[in-house]
């Protein structure tokens, strides 16, 4: 029997079909996808909407964030509700090292503060975020599931509150006012903060950022795939499946879990740094619990542990709410003559409904990995018809129906 060990995880996992054929399809698919990614901002800016270009930029940042969280939650099975903290750490590292702000606290730096180049700050931000991942992960090593979620939720809030209050005794973060005048990304003298004109074509700043973010997002996707398909990725999955068995067959679960926290956090740190440079301004309110939950939703909605699924979930959850924000008001105006439901409220409402529907009808996410998919299908086949549509893990339900039968009899 031949087994291929290509980067494509699905082909290594599913029974091998004609591999030449599927490889050609994969190449064709990625080429089309690459073309779409390249052309998208041109189409958007042709339509004259800078707003949507910005949304596309933010969506790319969210992809990096979600893929980072996917390592912790999807691969290693560690439920982390404080993930946005690492995004915050990355953003603050960037902000402090490339804005005039630090000059206030340390006059010795001169009036201009620090303006380090991106090549230094971005890796440094990733490393510091990774270090925070280890620091916050270490106390939770013995926790799982709900307990882990509660502790990480607390850690996330602690980081935000620190950002909010570290304007005393020395003004490190400028507290709730946040840090302003953060440098855009610079390649030497070339700034991503201004639009560039090549002959007759003007490329807006947001489009420059788009291509930079797209390149980094691709790097992070590749890193995720390679990690998942490696000795380390398998060890993460082993821990997710059965921690005791993982230890018994020689996996150092402490180190491997910390590695998951560190890797996930460093992806978040990269995204955070880029976010700070794109916005030029950051404050603690961008890093609240809702933001952590939002990233988690992207991972869960798309399909935990499945990289294309996570990307799909991210695109949906960044795109649809924005679409709604822009069209829900005018649509109501046109249909009903007035705005009945505030678009912002409608957004949260639909968000909630979407999650409930996904949990109900596609518990493994919109685009789960093929193994997970297969497994759910097989489960559905074994269940009697009337239970078919609802679930993944039927233990609770069985128990509940057992109990209700007992009550009835």
């Amino acid at each position: 029997m031949m087994l291929s060990f290509t980067p494509d995880t699905s082909s290594a996992r599913s029974p091998a079909h004609s591999s030449a054929h599927s490889r050609r399809n994969a190449i064709l698919g990625s080429a089309l996808l690459a073309l779409a990614v390249l052309v998208l901002p041109i189409l958007i800016s042709a339509s004259g909407s800078m707003t949507w270009l910005r949304i596309a930029d933010i969506a790319l940042l969210y992809i990096m964030l979600a893929l980072g969280l996917n390592i912790v939650v999807g691969f290693a099975g560690l439920l982390d509700l404080g993930y946005i903290a690492f995004f915050a750490v990355g953003a603050y590292v960037w902000a402090l090292l490339s804005s005039p702000h630090l000059a206030q606290a340390f006059p010795a730096l001169g009036p201009e503060g620090l303006h380090w180049p991106m090549w230094v700050i971005l890796p440094l931000g990733a490393c510091i975020a990774g270090l925070f991942g280890v620091l916050l992960g270490a106390p939770t090593l013995r926790l799982r599931g709900d307990y882990l979620a509660i502790v990480t939720l607390g850690f996330g809030e602690i980081v935000r509150i620190f950002m909010n209050n570290l304007n005393q005794p020395i003004n490190l973060t400028n507290g709730p006012q946040g840090i302003t005048r953060i440098n855009p990304v610079m390649f030497g003298q070339f700034s991503f903060g201004k639009s560039v004109t090549f002959g007759s074509i003007t490329v807006p700043s947001l489009m420059l950022y788009y291509y930079l973010f797209a390149a980094l997002a691709v790097l992070i996707v590749v890193a995720s795939i390679r990690l998942q398909d490696s000795r380390i990725g398998r060890a993460w999955e082993a821990i997710r499946e059965d921690e005791i068995a993982a230890r018994a067959i020689g996996i150092n679960t402490r180190n491997i879990k910390l590695l998951a926290f560190a890797m996930g956090a460093s992806f978040g740190g990269v995204a955070g740094g880029l976010f700070a440079s794109l916005q030029g301004f950051i404050s603690p309110e961008s890093f609240g619990l809702m933001d952590s939950i939002c990233v988690l939703c992207m991972v869960v909605l798309g399909g935990m542990g499945h990289i294309p699924g996570v990307i799909l979930g991210t695109l949906l959850l960044t795109g649809l709410p924005e679409a709604l924000r822009h069209w829900a008001g005018p649509a109501q105006q046109a249909l009903l003559g007035k705005v009945v439901i505030d678009p912002e409220a409608l957004r949260m409402l639909l968000f909630g409904v979407a999650l409930v529907l996904v949990m109900q009808f596609r518990p493994a996410g919109l685009w789960p990995s093929s193994t997970r998919q297969r497994e759910l299908e097989e489960l559905a086949d074994t269940l009697p018809d009337d239970e078919n549509d609802n679930d993944d893990d039927d233990d609770d339900d069985d128990e509940a129906s057992q109990r209700s039968k007992e009550v009835r009899s």
């Binding site: 029997m1 087994l3 490696s230 000795r231 059965d242 018994a248 193994t371």
Partner: protein, 263 residues
């Protein structure tokens, strides 16, 4: 009791209690190189507790144990595995949602070295190692007769195959001593027969085995020596024949005439 010169695993005076329950009481155990050593006793005798203590899942209250001269008590399960003691579980602990092949590949973790950098850069060394892991895993699947199920999820295997997969996964760690906790439980006669053949083959290849098993027929056929536990104490030790005729063992399993009269 003096140490046997050929002893691979030496355990001395191991005690372990859970609250008021003394699960193990001064248990000593010698496992000789190349033998199949049976650990038997009635339910609740402490067999699995001894397993868990030796493999690091429980912390012993007292006693010491060495494998190949290396201290194992007080070490973590993964370190003990690294030293060459691999185990299976009484209630199967497979990585259910991973394929059969992946389960065995994970078993190679402890003998391989690729780290994050190697994985991210896909260095030549990492690729070679990955290839090696896959080949080794497939060889082990072939040996345990699971190759045709390589891409099946572990949880979809039949019960007997799941037991074999656990053995394959443990073998992937290159153990010097393989500890099996009731490997034949729930197997039918054919499956037990092929398990027996596999275990004998492993022994002939030089592996030492420690076996907890309730199937006395199997135990008597397979084991070179037996240790019998009852209520956390060792009550007998020796060849199957000696143990079979030991009055204390007979009493432990069947009860004594005296007890029958009084009860």
């Amino acid at each position: 009791m003096s140490a046997h010169p050929d002893a691979l695993l030496l355990a001395r005076n191991i005690s372990k209690s859970f609250g008021g329950v003394q699960a193990l009481h001064n248990v000593s155990l010698d496992i000789l190189r190349g033998e199949i050593h049976g650990l038997i006793g009635p339910n609740g005798a402490g067999k699995t507790s001894l397993f868990n203590t030796l493999t690091g899942l429980y912390e012993a209250d007292q006693g010491h144990a060495t494998l190949n001269g290396e201290r194992i008590l007080g070490r973590k399960p993964n370190e003990i595995c690294q030293l060459g003691l691999a185990r299976t579980f009484q209630n199967l602990r497979l990585f259910q949602n991973l394929s059969v092949l992946e389960n065995v590949m994970i078993g190679r973790h402890v003998r391989t070295h690729t780290g994050v950098v190697g994985a991210l850069l896909r260095t030549a060394r990492a690729k070679r190692e990955e290839q090696e892991i896959a080949e080794r895993a497939q060889r082990l699947l072939a040996k345990t007769g699971l190759l045709k199920h390589a891409n099946t999820l572990a949880k979809h295997l039949s019960y007997g195959d799941q037991r074999r997969l656990e053995i394959a996964r443990a073998l992937a760690t290159d153990p010097v001593l393989l500890a099996l906790d009731e490997p034949a439980a729930g197997m039918n006669a054919t499956e037990t027969e092929s398990l027996k053949a596999l275990l004998l083959q492993l022994r002939d290849e030089g592996l030492t085995l420690l076996l907890i098993e309730h199937d006395m027929h199997l135990v008597m056929q397979l084991c070179n020596r037996l240790t019998v536990l009852e209520y956390g104490r060792k009550i007998a030790e020796g060849s199957p024949h000696e143990v079979q005729n030991n009055p204390r063992v007979i009493a432990a399993y069947l009860g004594t005439a005296h007890e029958e009269v009084t009860s």
